[in-house]
């Protein structure tokens, strides 16, 4: 059953957490006119906001509560996004992403945004996170999620 995401901003937007696992999460959002940009399409910032959370959630599960409490939270330091098609307010979107690699300094993730109705790819992003020093395996032992 879907639940509110832990990030206040992601919850404020209206996104729902559909599924989470180690290094993986899937969120959904039923867009409406509040999410529009100046031309009436869904604002790209809506997409990047939820995509950032997708990897953040998957990474939290991968690192584990103990590691985050002991060493501190991870933080997004880079995000590269391509927007392939525009969504229209009223569209339901699904955001699905995975942590690609976690080292003791950084983590990388990829996430896709698709329109639920027809599966069309709306956007894709690659994210880089900083990991607090002391957490995770050595760089040579980078884990795949």
């Amino acid at each position: 059953m879907a639940e509110q995401p832990g990030a206040p901003f992601t919850a404020y937007i209206g996104a729902l957490l559909e599924e989470k696992a180690e290094g993986y999460s899937r969120l959904s959002l039923k867009t409406d006119t509040r999410h529009a940009d100046a031309s009436g399409c869904v604002h790209p910032g809506v997409l990047t906001s939820v995509m950032d959370s997708v990897i953040g959630i998957g990474l939290s599960r991968l690192r584990g509560d103990d590691a985050r409490e002991k060493h501190g939270p991870h933080a997004t330091i880079g995000m590269s996004t391509s927007f392939y098609a525009q969504a229209t307010p009223g569209d339901e979107l699904v955001f699905e992403g995975r942590v690609i690699r976690l080292t003791d300094r950084v983590a990388f993730g990829e996430v896709e945004t698709r329109r639920t109705a027809d599966g069309e790819m709306i956007a894709k992003a690659h994210l880089t996170f900083a990991i607090p020093v002391g957490q995770g395996p050595s760089p040579d032992e980078g884990r795949r999620a």
Binding site: F9, A38, P44, S49
Partner: protein, 137 residues
Amino acid sequence: MQYDEHTPSPFSTLIGAHPEEAGEGYARMSLVLEEKHTNPNGIVHGGVLTSLMDEVCGWAVMTVRGIEAMVQAPHATVDMNVSFLSGARPGDTIVVEGRALRVGRSVAFAEAEVRRGEDTLIAKGRFTFVIQGKRDG
């Protein structure tokens, strides 16, 4: 939809950002951060920053193209690259500035910076827009 270069988009309004200034190829907005703008760690959510950077870049490009041209053929973000250098917390004021680097017939390029208060650079981004075909009617 009514286009007005001093009216932020519905999503920027939802966020609570304020348009401050625009000129030829330049636009600036500000936001006083609240709890609703945070991630689970109590720091400003990266999406707040990317949203407002996209907004000011789109606005900066519009100041070059003109409102009428945008109404007839809107520009849409196709690529965004953002680095997050530092954070900000509820109570902080962030200032988001966008500059159009080049506005061509089919694409436009812009960059944005986010500062905490007056000085501290916390994010920087580069944006590419495609200028779409003219709308019918």
